[in-house]
């Protein structure tokens, strides 16, 4: 099976701070992989580096169906088929969702009638019919924004889909809907990488593989059993099994209290 996405030794930094410290990962076409990791492990950075955000300096290799993306600008990566559903999609005032899809469709050379057909079909699938004439993400609820992200991706010929915290901030019904939407995106022509902090969405999804990210690296990969271990024992269980030290909170400078040893209350 060919890999939709093959990442090797991916490193990224902002200024002098290294965030990704050599990520290796393959997502074959037709599969859904989950990356789980605690806060600060580099998950969102990985998403932005895959998408090509210019805030990061990145090295290593990101292959989309064998084609190198490092050094390629954001828009070109998207046209090659790498699309991200953002954790915090921005509201874009004055730009209608359907109008935007038409514009992007034209930039990607999708014929107008074909795009219209896809918009109608995807709007149906992701229940976005009422939002097509509204400005992008304008006054949408958390769950509606996530659906809008997946709606947009499904219209635009995805080959690699990156879903950043697609389940965060949602109630359980919305998580279930989002999971169903992910299943809608699944196809033999697409590889899906789902980044999440919580394991609950995995209950409603048929993930092919689960990867655990800590401190800028993938530290473990496995099947459903890994998700269960995380569900039961949290990240601490994985840490202790792998012998990884718990991270020290970098910013928490513990101030010595000069009165703390006094034998009376002050």
């Amino acid at each position: 099976m060919t890999n939709a996405l093959a990442i090797s030794d991916l490193r990224a930094s902002v200024g002098s701070i290294d965030i990704l410290k050599g990520v290796d990962l393959q997502v074959p076409f037709g599969e859904v992989h989950a990356i789980m990791g605690p806060n600060g492990s580099g998950k969102s950075t990985l998403c932005h580096v895959l998408t090509g955000k210019s805030d990061y300096s990145a090295s290593g290799s990101i292959l989309l169906d064998g084609e190198e993306l490092i050094g390629t600008p954001v828009d070109e990566r998207a046209r090659k088929g790498l699309l991200q559903a953002f954790q915090y999609p921005v509201e874009v005032p004055g730009v209608g969702l359907e109008e935007f899809m038409v514009e992007v469709g034209s930039a990607r050379g999708i014929p107008a009638d074909e795009l219209e057909r896809r918009v109608a079909a995807s709007a149906e699938t992701f229940s976005m019919g009422n939002f097509l004439d509204r400005a992008i993400n304008d006054e949408l609820s958390g769950g509606e924004k996530k659906r809008s992200e997946m709606f947009q991706i499904s219209v635009l010929d995805p080959r690699v889909v990156v879903l950043d915290e697609i389940d965060s901030g949602l109630d359980i019904d919305a998580v279930r809907q989002v999971a169903e939407a992910v299943e809608e995106l699944r196809s033999p022509e697409v590889g899906i990488l789902l980044i999440t902090h919580y394991s609950r969405i995995l209950r409603y999804l048929n993930t092919d593989k689960v990867h655990v990210m800590m401190n800028g690296r993938i530290v473990d990969s496995g099947g459903a059993e890994l998700a269960e271990e995380l569900e039961d024992g949290g990240y601490e269980a994985v840490r202790s099994r792998l012998g990884i030290d718990a991270p020290r909170p970098a910013a928490a400078v513990v101030k010595a209290d000069p009165f703390s040893d006094l034998p009376f209350e002050n």
């Binding site: 090509g52 600008p73 828009d75 991200q84 999609p89 874009v92 004055g94 730009v95 930039a107």
Partner: protein, 429 residues
């Protein structure tokens, strides 16, 4: 004062009714006593005037009219069209039907003249600046639109205000009077060719009677050699509604001094506008919204963009008088600066003399947001295209709300073209 100007002025009074001559003489006196505005004056500090009105001849005869303007097709069937060339009314096409009339001042009937005598020049303060006084002194003609009680016009009126004569000043005038419970839409299109040097000093006075509704939109497309100083005043009676649109894309320097006066209880207004300057254009908007009646409301929503070395100024004054209880007034001015050498100033002021009011104002000056660009590009839009989408979106919130929706498409097209041309010529990005 320049003796030639005085002579021309005297000559222009020949055959003019006494009451008009008296008004114009008063204008000339106030003109003579005021200095040309300079940047040392607070109200003109962002604007560099490179001429003296005194050195200019004023138009006595109209030049050759321009071909049909950009809004004729979009408007489709209009109630009437008035064509004003260099301040002189050269044609009025169309009849307004029973209860309404549109005439030039020169052709005014006795009844019209009586109406004009009540209104003309009564509302724009001659001391406001030298341009206001110059207009009173030198405006020899104008368009009067009168819509009688309980009359609704069948379609908008287009007032096509052209400048065509080189190296002169013109003083186009429009008076709109709506009696009680009347309704009218008026589209004013200001235009001139780019190769013309001209100073236009138009005035628009609109008196909206009790229970009447006026939609009034100005579409400013002056050529690049035209300097314009417009005074516009909208006076709202009891339960009257004014929906005002201001679109400014042309001119070398285009200044608008607009006052909306909520005199009658229950009157309300909305001002929706945009300006977009490129190259070395200056757009200077002064907007005064005053609430005097009780239970009145206003909403100002203006957006401006500047690119290249263009500059824009918005100065807003929201004044709520002591007895204007239960006033609701909002003012928003948003500016987009698209080039490093472009500049935008936004100066909102509030004067609230009454406690029982709901007021809000917001003013921003910023660039295209990186996060927005990133988002649009992450779907596959190249940067220049993403920028165009964002500029379009920026203006769309205004264009979508313009009074007289028929003009929206041409306005959209002009604004998009302005940015796309700058991009294509490598002036942006």
């Amino acid at each position: 004062m320049n003796p030639q100007l005085q002579a021309a002025f005297d000559q222009s009074l020949a055959g003019v009714p006494d009451w008009v001559a008296a008004l114009r003489r008063e204008g000339l006196d106030r003109y003579a006593e005021q200095a040309m505005p300079t940047q040392k004056m607070e109200h003109w500090k962002y604007v560099d005037l490179d001429f003296d009105l005194d050195d200019l001849a004023f138009a006595m005869e109209p030049g050759t009219p321009l071909p049909a303007g950009p809004y004729v097709d979009a408007l489709g069937s209009v109630a009437a069209t008035a064509t004003v060339v260099d301040g002189i009314v050269v044609g009025i096409d169309g009849e307004l039907g029973a209860g309404a009339s549109i005439v030039s001042f020169r052709d005014a009937t006795d009844a019209d003249a009586a109406l004009l005598q009540e209104t003309m020049g009564r509302h724009i303060d001659l001391g406001r600046d030298k341009f206001a006084a110059a207009h009173r002194a030198f405006a020899g003609d104008g368009v009067l639109i009168h819509v009688g009680r309980s009359t609704t016009l069948d379609g908008p009126i287009l007032v096509d205000v052209q400048a065509t004569s080189d190296a002169i000043a013109s003083f186009p005038h429009l008076t709109i009077v709506l009696a009680e419970n009347a309704e009218a839409s008026v589209v004013v299109n200001y235009r001139s060719n780019d190769d013309l040097t001209h100073v236009a000093v138009p005035q628009v006075e609109a008196i909206v009677g009790d229970g009447s509704r006026l939609s009034l939109i100005s579409l400013q497309h002056w050529g690049r050699g035209t300097t314009a100083a417009v005074h516009e005043k909208v006076i709202l009676g009891r339960d009257a509604t004014g929906t005002i649109g201001e679109v400014g894309v042309g001119g070398k320097l285009a200044r608008l001094d607009l006052a909306i006066e909520h005199i009658g209880n229950g009157s309300s207004s909305e001002l929706i506008g945009l300006s977009f300057g490129d190259q070395t254009q200056t757009h200077d908007y002064r907007v005064i919204v005053r609430h005097e009646g009780k239970n009145t409301s206003s909403d100002v929503f203006l957006k401006g963009a500047v690119e290249d070395e263009a500059s824009s100024v918005f100065t807003g004054l929201l004044r709520i008088e002591e007895d204007a209880t239960r006033t609701s007034a909002f003012e928003t001015n948003r500016n987009l600066v698209l080039s490093e050498s472009a500049s935008a100033q936004s100066v909102p002021n509030l004067e609230i003399l009454c406690n029982d009011v709901i007021c809000g104002h917001g003013s921003t000056v910023g660039q295209l947001e990186e996060e927005h660009l990133y988002y649009l590009m992450s779907r596959g839009l190249p940067k220049d295209r993403a920028e165009r989408v964002l500029v379009r979106g920026f203006f769309e919130e205004v264009i979508d709300r313009l009074p007289v929706p028929e003009v929206a498409d041409p306005v959209r097209a002009v604004v998009h073209d302005k940015f796309a041309t700058a991009q294509a010529e490598g002036r942006i990005g």
